[in-house]
Amino acid sequence: MTPLLSVRDLKVRYPVRGALAAALTGEGTHIEAVSGVSFSIARGETLALVGESGSGKTTVARTIAGLVKAHSGSVLFEGEELTRLGAGALKAVRRQMAIIFQDPVGSLSPRLRVGSILAEPFLVHGLGITPAKIDRLLDLVGLPKEMAERYPHQLSGGQARRINVARAIALEPKLLIADEPTAGLDVSVQGEVLNLLNELRERLGISMLIITHNLHVVRHISGRMAIMYLGRIVESGPTLRLFAQPRHPYTAALLSASPRPDPDDLPQRLEIVGEIPSLFRRPSGCEFHTRCPFAREKCRFEPPAATAPASGEFFTCHFPLNAIQDDGRARP
């Protein structure tokens, strides 16, 4: 069966300076925020895109939703190529996919009541709207009917999140894109939102693309994950496999940077130094070598190719973690 969404070699560029300034500074006119990303999502499946700020994960999401133009590559949604669609055709496709933005309150109009906010998707697509539909949406996300009378500033963080989810599922989309759905929420509320997303997937069969930097969230919500670094996917595979046995040192570093709250069970730290490099000055060879504790000479010059140890898994590293450990040799 064809996947619901298939992204192939997607590249997205942002203009940063004019030709003259580029010539003077010796830097390019564009930065490549997404640099050849490929993945697919099957029907009813959840994929998590994980990475630090600046890794390009939000740009990928926005490109799929048609909010940013792709430079090259393809985005196939139900077999239809989205990157070449005109505005009218794109609008029709957008009924099938919805996005939950990062800032839950900022993405709700402060001057509309919740009821009107939830009616908006129906009006945009010229569909009929009845109060009963609004009630049903509120019910789906576990909020009382009376919520329809409120303004966004009268909602708590968790409630605003739920309203965003309700608006996103209003037109029964096939794909839900959630950009940092739990950022800024307290742990006790974070669970509510994740439970809600899990429940909606089960009840409505929605596929999901979750963008997050919180690995612990990923474990409980998505079956597969892809780790992004500087606009490329450096490792992807089933979530539990990656948690148990990361192959790319960056994946391992992200995992060990999320401490388990236990003073006696501090992880064996795989510490990486410094910060994500600037897109203006992409490192040569393997782009992670500037921060990688295991980088060798080869890593500085030769970009690693993707290795697929099993179907549905790949990583890009010259010296993957477990291959070497399996040899019985210590890490360099």
Partner: protein, 334 residues
């Protein structure tokens, strides 16, 4: 030995159109010399109000109703603005959540770092040398170059390191870190926490670390105070809190953290209900409405802080040695 910071029975009120809001009630806390103490709690628990009360930075409608705050034996409550100014940024300093609001966007890093040493009778070049040494110490690469840069030219992690360097230039007895890593990526969070730990070891200062991130608290702190709706509900060593939590709120908070749940689960635990209204404080235990083990005395009677073990206290009726015969569980609205 005199503790670095000692807070006793502190209550704060804010005047609002709806009446007096009481964001802190009867808070007692001690930070020993050289100790790293964590304060953990969710939004609205009073963490930031506590910081503002210690620093004398409560907003105009806020006032300290009662209690005492002493920094190394100096009583801070009742001190005039001048006297407080002499203490703030000298004997105690703060690292805030967002370094961009700490740093002046239109001044170079070097200038700001020299300015903050205004109390010291040093020549300009001596101040510059101290700044350079401190930047190197907090792990800023090429410190000399950074000094000539503006805050917007630095990455988020670098800015926070600069903010920490500026706080440390005062050689404070007490460093208060208010969610210093919240704006940073996980790999940088760990780096900053490591840095704070090293700085504490090398300078001997005490640190009050305010965070909602349980993993970082477990990693950094020696003892922990858990706050809920304006009260400290439990205090103890980091092991007491994470291994032997006594208060139902602490237990639930720990249960909610997805990092502590080993296998994947489609249904994560939550704490149903909301924080109570802090204008009309209910007479009994503040957590009653959301507590799964609430029983007869909870709604009507305020639980006292009880000793669980040496150095470990919690405010919960369940810790009373003998329960009354008519005690029945009324809790768990979930």
């Amino acid at each position: 030995m005199e503790p670095a910071l000692s807070i006793g029975g502190l209550s704060v009120a804010f005047a609002t159109p709806h009446g007096a809001l009481k964001p802190l009630r009867d808070v007692s806390l001690e930070v020993r010399k050289g100790e790293i103490v964590g304060i953990v709690g969710e939004s609205g628990c009073g963490k930031s109000t506590l910081l503002n009360a210690i620093m004398g930075l409560l907003p105009a409608n806020g006032r300290i109703v009662e209690g005492r705050i002493a920094l190394g034996g100096t009583d801070l409550i009742g001190l005039g603005e001048r006297a407080l100014d002499a203490i703030r940024g000298d004997r105690m300093s703060v690292v805030f959540q967002d370094p961009m609001t700490t740093l002046n966007p239109v001044l170079r890093i070097g200038r700001q770092m020299s300015d903050i040493q205004y109390r010291r009778q040093l020549t300009g070049s001596n101040k510059k040398a101290r700044s350079l040494a401190m930047l190197a110490r907090v792990g800023v690469p090429d410190p000399a170059q950074r000094m000539a840069q503006y805050p917007h030219e630095l990455s988020g992690g670098m800015r926070q390191r600069v903010a920490i360097a500026m706080a440390m230039l005062a050689e404070p007895e007490l460093l208060i870190a208010d969610e210093p890593t919240t704006a940073l990526d996980a790999t940088l969070e760990i780096q900053i926490v490591r840095l704070l730990k090293d700085l504490q070891k090398n300078t001997g200062c005490s640190i009050l670390f305010i965070s909602h991130h349980l993993g970082l608290i477990a990693e950094l702190c020696e003892s922990v105070a858990v706050m809920y709706a304006g009260e400290i509900v439990e205090r103890g060593s980091v092991r007491d809190i994470f291994h032997r939590p006594a208060h139902p709120y602490t237990k639930r908070l720990l249960d909610c953290d997805p990092a502590r749940i080993a296998g994947p689960t489609a249904r994560l635990p939550t704490i149903p209900g909301d924080v109570p209204n802090l204008v009309a404080i209910p007479p009994g235990c503040i957590f009653t409405d959301r507590c799964p083990s609430a029983f007869t005395p909870c709604p009507g009677m305020k639980p006292a802080q009880r000793r669980v073990a040496e150095g470990h206290v919690a405010a919960c009726h369940l810790l009373t040695a003998t329960l009354p015969n008519d005690a029945t569980v009324i809790g768990s609205r979930s």
